[in-house]
Amino acid sequence: MSIAALAQSLGITLKALFTRPVTIPYPDAPVALKPRFHGRHVLTRHPGGLEKCIGCSLCAAACPAYAIYVEAAENDPANPTSAGERYAKVYEINMLRCIFCGLCEEACPTGAVVMGYEFEMADYRYSDFVYGKEDLLVEVQGTKPQRRESTYTGREVKPGYAVPYARVELEGVNPPKARVERAAPKPWRDNPVDDDHHEGGHS
């Protein structure tokens, strides 16, 4: 450590003072998620409106946290709920147990359960963390507490996130687009020789 290094460090911080803060003021501005973010699950539908879930319970079997409970029932042939023989009469995920690992999504043979983008699930009672089909189906906007609040205030659910584009697996989901694409972070250490000058933004 020399005096020169000390002076140089002052320069680095002074430069940082005049750069734009990387902070996202989250509740005021939507947080920019990556396209493959693991959020709340979504039960998708086929284009015709039939549920993809066939009640096979493979997701429940794959779940390492035992968060999923599925109860299957036979489809009414005249008025089917799902595209297969059976459908999920009950489909519940306990969000307090769920570790958002995405194994259910991988286990699903029909691509019915997909990790979405919602993450604002903080709530007051344990029972409110068990999400049923009425909370997970693709047309439902927002999480339980968000929807409860929107019934109180009469305003629409305002999602707190934005993504550059939706995954193709999330059929029928229209997530809010990130308005300004942040400058892509510089590839880390593209110049490993220059040790003293990696003051660039650690975003």
Partner: protein, 364 residues
């Protein structure tokens, strides 16, 4: 002392009130600035731009539970923060902010002491007791170690602080802050002939205010929290207050002694309060900037730097300026010496790559 006792009382109250408000907003300014230095935003939730954050902090710290360790020495435990804040507050009243009668017909200072510099020195020495007694009274090993360490550090840096102030006192021939400001009006700023004294005083006052390169009293990584580990709520806030008031006093004292006080060089108009506040703001900014950048010195490094580098440098510079004054030479001789020291510093600064270990360690 041209003002009446009543005027002095009112001004003392104003100074205390102003200092405490300044403390509150300095916490906000410091947090915002530190955040920006770290490419963050900082506290901005309470009120517009986070302007009510100090208020929220005050309410929180007043209504927090006031814990007293059961084995603590209750009297001293209570006394320590009070000592700390009292001796922090009483120093500021000396600093002149303008010419006579500039403050609504009153003088813009509380008292005008003939032994002003000595008084400030005495007051800052007494501030050690707050830290010292806090650590002892808490009856906790972290607190005691922290307080022993930091009071040893404070005492060590006190020496170079005093030594660096000897040179300006010698040159001006007075210990009165008003005289120092007046002298600088006639003979130019003291930073020119006494740059090394200025640098030494700057470093030592950083240590006196327990700011970052020397913020051993805090040392939360090693000692949980140093001397104020066992303190909570308003007593803890009093310690914080004392630290910031020391900082504000230091940032007002440095310009007063070395940068012409409330005056500016000829081509700028003399606006009593503005220049002083601007200079204070500059030094406060530099203090925060340094805090955002540098690391804390280890205890042994701190002591070695204080006794091994700072004190000899202060002694040498004092001897040099004393010789120049005793020989009756003009100040321009000191100007050359000062320039030479700046050149030496620059040479050290620019010589060699940054990675190379040089003989001179520590901050400059």
């Amino acid at each position: 002392m041209t003002d009446s006792l009543l005027a002095a009382g009112v001004k003392a109250f104003l100074v205390v009130f102003g200092l405490l408000t300044a403390f509150a907003y300095m916490t906000l300014v410091e947090r915002r600035l530190l955040a920006r230095f770290q490419v963050r935003l900082g506290p901005n939730r309470v009120g517009p731009l986070g302007l009510f954050q100090p208020l929220a902090d005050a309410i929180k710290s007043i209504f927090k539970e006031d814990l007293v360790v059961s084995k603590a020495d209750r009297l001293v435990f209570l006394l320590a923060p009070i000592i700390s804040i009292t001796f922090a507050l009483v120093g500021f009243g000396l600093i002149p902010f303008g010419p006579k009668h500039a403050f609504f017909g009153w003088d813009p200072w509380v008292i005008n002491l003939d032994v002003g510099i000595l008084y400030l020195f005495a007051v800052s020495e007494m501030a050690v007791y707050g830290i010292f007694l806090a650590g002892w009274a808490s009856n906790s090993k972290y607190s005691l170690l922290g307080s022993l360490r930091s009071s040893a550090a404070l005492i060590s840096y006190e020496l170079s602080l005093g030594m660096s102030l000897l040179a300006p006192a010698l040159l001006v021939g007075s210990l009165n802050l008003q005289d120092i400001v007046a002298w600088q009006e006639n003979n130019g700023w003291l930073i020119l002939p006494l740059f090394p004294a200025f640098a030494l005083f700057f470093i030592s006052s950083m240590a006196e205010a327990a700011r970052t390169p020397f913020d051993l009293p805090e040392a939360e990584q090693e000692l949980v929290g140093g001397y104020n580990t066992e303190y909570s709520s308003i007593k803890w806030a009093l310690f914080q207050m004392a630290e910031y008031v020391h900082l504000i006093t230091a940032s007002a004292l440095i310009p007063t002694i070395f940068l012409g006080g409330w005056r500016m060089p000829g081509f700028l108009p003399d606006i009593p309060f503005l220049w002083m506040f601007l200079k204070m703001a500059l030094f406060l900014f530099v203090f925060i900037w340094i805090r955002a950048t540098w690391f804390r010195l280890r205890y042994d490094q701190l002591m070695r730097f204080g006794w091994g580098r700072l004190l000899p440098a202060a002694l040498i510079w004092f001897l040099l300026s004393a010789l120049v004054v005793a020989a009756g030479a003009s100040i321009s001789v000191l100007n050359w010496f000062s320039l030479a020291s700046v050149l030496v510093l620059l040479a050290v600064l620019l010589s060699g790559p940054a990675r190379q270990k040089t003989a001179k360690g520590g901050a400059a």
